[in-house]
Subunit: 321 residues, 2 copies
């Protein structure tokens, strides 16, 4: 009899967390419990999880005794906490260590980027990774690049706009920077494999379905749609200006979530298209393992398959529920 690993998941109602929850359920290798904060208790998304028979721990993470109960017997703690709550994870670490958690997967799940100095979002994650290493807790960092779901262009017909947060067809720089891309729905499928694998212990891993530049993405979109993408160019200088402006705005009010989000987005663009960080070569330099090499038997969704679904009107807009 195979003993299942007990996983405690934080952030299960977010886009990444929901994909992880589904991936873990599909795999059948895990007993899954979910940690939610008291403020989220009555959210419909939390109740939906409960209706699936999944145990919900509704806990104030400032209460260490409650936390210890939730963490007792947990093999893997996964955090998919939102970008504005990253430093909150620090409160979990000592408890995770005391409870003997065998692996912690802190909230990474972004593009490949330098540990410090390129993206505020990444800098805050680094603080958490450093605390984990300070405590010596076994860990895995999983980055997924950028999602297909936010990496495709608007078409002149407007037929794919239903699936876009803000319809646009911007090309950044010369459009040639290769990018690590994963279908959001595959994030959980990769996570289920990565956390069930001793080779990934105390390692950084990146996942991808495709590595594509914006020019390549547009060519696929044109081929599949029969339409001509009409790109709006954004130069490296414009991207740099947008970062500078977002930093200046945030400095006026450092905790404003909207201003932080604007900075995150501009720094993503800068890191992906000006610095060209989100590439297999830079991931390799930084010491990441490649999840495709680790799991050759798993074929993730390709961007082409994804865009066929978008064109067929079958995709769901992210951040829409």
């Amino acid at each position: 009899m195979v003993v299942k690993q007990k996983v405690l998941l934080l952030g299960a109602t977010g886009e990444t967390g929901a994909s992880i929850l589904k991936g873990l359920q599909e795999s059948g290798n895990f007993d899954i419990e979910v940690l939610v904060r008291p403020a989220s208790k009555n959210k419909p998304s939390v109740q939906k999880i409960q209706e699936q028979g999944i145990k919900i721990w509704c806990i104030d993470i400032n209460e260490s005794s409650d936390l210890m109960s939730a963490l007792s017997g947990v093999d893997v703690l996964i955090s998919a906490i939102g970008p504005h709550g990253l430093l909150e994870q620090k409160k979990l670490l000592q408890a995770a260590k005391s409870a003997g958690v065998k692996r912690i997967v802190p909230c990474a799940f972004i593009t490949v980027a330098p540990p410090r100095g390129a993206m505020l979002l990444r800098d805050e994650k680094e603080e958490v990774y450093n605390d984990i290493k300070f405590l010596g807790i076994p860990y895995t960092i999983i980055d997924v690049g950028y999602w297909y779901q936010i990496s495709f262009p608007s078409l002149p017909s407007g037929k794919v706009d239903y699936a876009m947060i803000v319809p646009n067809s911007t090309i950044h720089g010369d459009g040639t920077a290769p990018n690590i891309l994963t279908d959001l729905r595959d994030v959980g499928r990769f996570v289920a494999r990565i956390i069930y694998d001793d080779r990934t212990l105390n390692k950084y891993v990146y996942t991808y379905g495709d590595i594509l530049s914006e020019n390549e993405i547009n060519r696929i979109a044109e081929e599949l749609s029969g339409e001509k993408v009409e790109p709006t160019p954004m130069s490296n200088e414009q991207i740099e200006d947008s970062v500078a402006q977002a930093k200046a705005a945030l400095s006026q009010n450092p905790q404003d979530p909207m201003k932080r989000t604007v900075l995150y987005i501009s720094q993503y663009k800068h890191s992906k298209y000006v610095r060209k960080d989100n590439s297999p070569a830079y991931a390799d330099y930084l010491g990441y393992l490649d999840a495709r090499s680790l799991y050759p038997e798993f074929t993730p969704l390709s961007f082409r398959e994804f865009f066929v679904e978008v064109l067929a009107g079958k995709m769901k807009k992210v951040y829409s529920s």
Copy 2:
């Protein structure tokens, strides 16, 4: 014909730098040049290097054009800069990148410790490592643990005190923490191998001659000397107090080199003996390669061999010239 690698070494007159210079010379695989700052130009130790026919670049590292000349054609840039000048290395990095240096070995050469939060000395090194990763320069981090030369006890006869900076026979905590130890004279021999090896590119590597606890060191010292070590105990609480005091003193005058040194020493003790960081297990957790596994054909000096020399009056006190 084997083409030699061109190495530029900064800090060649310090203890670590001198060992590296000697190790590189012994190996025969390198064309060595040395970078010194104008203030050091007339030091006898610099003149001694010059007398060996080694090219000396006497350069203000704030002058980027001079720096570019020194870095032109350099394969490996090694920095063994002193502990108070670590952040000065940041000025070298952009130039090293522009010059196409194929590997940078920033000043590491200390104990294995967490990237942040345990030792100010390590925290400042981390800043430099992060800048290197930001720029994407190929690198190798080499840590050597603590030197034999500062890891042996005073004996009742006083016969080994000549080789000690401050004679003492303190035992920290229960004396059982295992420590990564390297003979200072082997540092350069390891470095010569590590930088000539593609397997160590973009990796962390630790070296050791022996892994020993203070209790084990004392047993060897007693066996070889026939004397009985009379240890002075220092409890974990006393070590923690010494760190707190050193921090408080430094906060009064953050740039005072003496106060920084006192903090470095107390944090070394805390990291080595209370946290027990400087161990193969923690190095492995942090992703270090083990230099002994990489170079099984090289037998470094053992602590036992070292202490025989100390007893014979043949050792030189470190930091004495």
